[in-house]
């Protein structure tokens, strides 16, 4: 059982990264549907850097940078040229999938050494939970750390307040003298960086390979998670564990010989997403309490 739970935890890490990043971008009022593309760019760059330098920590760095740079392409169009965010985001996903395939072609079939586990002394010896919680790789710890940091930043800092203000009413924020586009650029870049980290986790930790489209829809699940979490950071953790759990559950169900068709089990994470979206839609006040009012709306300053 412990091994199963550990697998669930690892599966959740990329979702935590990507969803936390997207949450920040959305709280600033930008809907970036390009998460899948940014994750793929992160994954391929992490794999390439790790095989070139032979050091997975270089892979983490490269993944984060690649994610942020892909996000910058989005910013250029959606913020700089005020193009439609939905269309731009979709284009970014297609762009990222294609470019990562091209960049990654020479690396298909290769393999790298993944991240080592860093056990936290003393804590790791706590019975039952010790090994489950305190014997992971650096990125797993980082994902939780960043999530907590983001929660603190958004709710407890002045900069976080400004970011939320920009997301809720960009005109008011602009009138007050805040630089809307700059704030959004920062938020989108952070979102890309995190998506890149989430993507990097796949080849660095889950399986030491690169294969085209290896994120397999995790970017879309991360987007759904933000809605699932109703834009509250702490709920992302719950959602990510739930989705990770379902992903592993469908495999474990097969191993145990459940007589449900495996195709049906493979659909579970996506069905769960839809159910959650339906449930949320039923109680709009609750669900949308933290929804940024300017989400997806274009901002053009009249200078």
């Amino acid at each position: 059982m412990e091994a199963l739970i550990l697998t669930v935890l690892l599966t959740s890490v990329p979702l935590i990264f990507a969803a936390t990043g997207e949450l920040v971008a959305e709280r600033s009022g930008v809907l970036n549907l390009g998460v899948e593309g940014m994750m793929l760019m992160g994954a391929v760059s992490a794999f390439a850097a790790t095989s070139i330098f032979g050091n997975p920590y270089m892979g983490i760095l490269a993944g984060a940078l690649a994610g942020a740079m892909t996000a910058a392409v989005f910013s250029l169009f959606a913020l700089g040229l005020a193009t439609n965010q939905v269309a731009t985001g979709l284009a970014l996903t297609i762009f990222g999938s294609g470019l990562s395939g091209l960049v990654g072609a020479p690396y298909v079939g290769g393999t790298v050494d993944g991240l080592p586990n860093l056990a936290i002394p003393i804590l790791v010896d706590v019975p039952i939970i010790g090994n489950l919680l305190f014997n992971h790789d650096i990125m797993a710890y980082l994902s939780i750390g960043v999530l907590m940091l983001v929660a603190w930043f958004l709710n407890r800092t002045r900069a976080g307040l400004v970011l939320r203000a920009v997301g809720n009413s960009h005109d008011s924020a602009h009138a007050l003298g805040y630089r809307v586009l700059l704030v959004r650029f920062g938020a989108v870049s952070f979102g890309g960086l995190m998506a890149g980290l989430g993507g990097a986790y796949l080849p660095l930790m889950l399986t030491p390979h690169w294969s085209e489209g290896m994120t397999a829809g995790r970017g879309w699940i991360a987007l759904a998670l933000v809605v699932f979490a109703s834009w509250i950071p702490s709920r992302i953790l719950i959602g990510a564990l739930l989705f990770g759990g379902i992903t592993i559950m469908q495999l474990a169900g097969q191993a145990r010989g459940w007589t449900v068709p495996s195709q049906m089990l493979s659909m579970l994470p996506y069905i769960a997403t839809i159910i959650v979206l339906v449930l949320i839609a039923r109680n709009r006040d609750f669900a949308l309490a933290n929804s940024p009012a300017c989400l997806g709306r274009l901002f053009i300053s009249n200078k």
């Binding site: 697998t7 072609a105 298909v108 079939g109 290769g110 399986t207 474990a252 191993a255 145990r256």
Partner: protein, 373 residues
């Protein structure tokens, strides 16, 4: 003005025409001394797995025929309608014989073949044929029987984890042959099957392998292409079998052996037949697995060295392989019971090639669960 236009039109037309003539001449010259061979690959060849084995064979073809052949391949071709476009393109480019190297290209190969009656097609692992489509296959299940024997002797937990791709005849044959081999040496061991619904998905394969290990499996087998399962096994300290090509480099301590596909002799034989004007689709549409369906006896399926196992297990494996090669063990010989205990093949009867494709809609004893779909 008008004259000028006409003149330039004529000039362009003449140029185009002469270019066309020249091109045709080149093509004819080429066709005279070179056979063009096309290959359609499911993934990039990389350095392991299914497509890699085909790439090795393509290079064998080039080595064998030298300047008498010209080979072309298209990689990363999805198993859908897109494949028809690629196959058609290869036919249009003047390839004389085209090998489509994955099960999912079956219907598309048949369809395109109708449009190019003068081009020969060889579809790998399918069962549909037409006047210019032959099929070729390897008896992969023979290697899986030997895997079953080794797994049965090696397991301590009596739990075996199996990763499967799609519920097609070849995969079911493999699972059942594995089960028959397993139960021939160990009546208590059981196989859990996880369908990952993909030929190549390293993340999902690794996840599934982790789940198998978490559920207590100490031997893993796979009918998927990436080495992710073996790498996971290596990390967790359990054992497993490689697929399609020798995967020892990925898991030096975990790999017991790999079943290696050796397509070279088949490609060479079929191209030679074509050069001699003797190419045929074999024995008619009722010959299920096609005119080429051979295995360990002809070295189309090769087992890599038995490693990471005790001497006596390696001996038993070698014996099992020898008995299959000599024809002493036909594997699918009754009595065969399904996993609910019903006798499906009575004692003394051996399933023929057609029955291997049409009657195996059950798991044999020792395999848990049910075939999906």
């Amino acid at each position: 003005m008008k004259i000028k236009t006409n003149f330039s039109f004529a000039a362009v037309a003449t140029l185009a025409l002469s270019a066309l003539v020249a091109l045709t001449a080149v093509t004819v010259a080429n066709a005279a001394d070179r056979v063009k061979v096309g290959f359609v690959y499911l993934t990039t060849p990389g350095d392991h797995g299914w497509t890699y084995a085909h790439e090795v064979a393509r290079l064998d073809v080039e080595k064998h025929f030298g300047k008498k052949v010209e080979t072309t391949f298209v990689e990363n071709v999805p198993e859908g309608p897109d494949s028809a476009r690629v196959i058609r393109e290869l036919a249009k480019q003047g390839n004389d014989i085209i090998f489509t190297t994955s099960f999912g290209y079956m219907d598309h190969t048949i369809k395109v073949a109708k449009e190019f009656p003068n081009v020969k097609f060889e579809h790998i692992t399918g069962y549909k044929r037409s006047p210019n489509v032959a099929t070729g296959n390897i008896r992969f299940y023979e290697g899986r029987y030997v895997q079953g024997v080794v797994a049965g002797l090696m397991t301590k937990s009596n739990k075996i984890g199996y990763l499967a791709s799609f519920p097609i005849p070849e995969v079911i044959q493999g699972i059942n042959a594995f089960g028959i081999g397993l139960r021939s040496v160990n009546p208590k061991a059981e196989v859990s099957v996880i369908w990952v619904n993909s030929w190549y998905d390293p993340v999902k394969e690794a996840d599934a392998a982790k789940v198998h290990i978490a559920e207590g499996a100490d031997i893993l087998a796979q009918h998927t292409d990436s080495p992710a399962m073996l790498q996971t096994a290596e990390k967790a300290g359990v054992h497993g079998f490689g697929q399609s090509s020798d995967m020892k480099a990925f898991a030096p301590k975990a790999q017991l052996f790999s079943s290696v596909n050796n397509w070279g002799p088949y490609y060479i034989a079929k191209i030679q037949q074509m050069m001699d004007g003797k190419w045929s689709t074999g024995d008619g549409p009722d010959h299920w697995a096609g005119n080429t369906w051979v295995g360990m006896a002809d070295d189309y399926l090769v087992l890599s060295p038995f490693e990471n196992m005790p001497e006596d297990v390696a001996k038993a494996a070698a014996q099992a392989a020898a008995d299959i090669k000599s024809g002493k063990n036909k594997i699918f010989t009754g009595p065969i019971k399904d996993n609910s205990g019903t006798v499906r093949v009575p004692a003394g009867k051996t399933l023929n090639d057609g029955e291997l494709f049409t009657t195996l809609d059950y798991y044999v004893e020792g395999i848990k669960g049910k075939i999906p779909g």
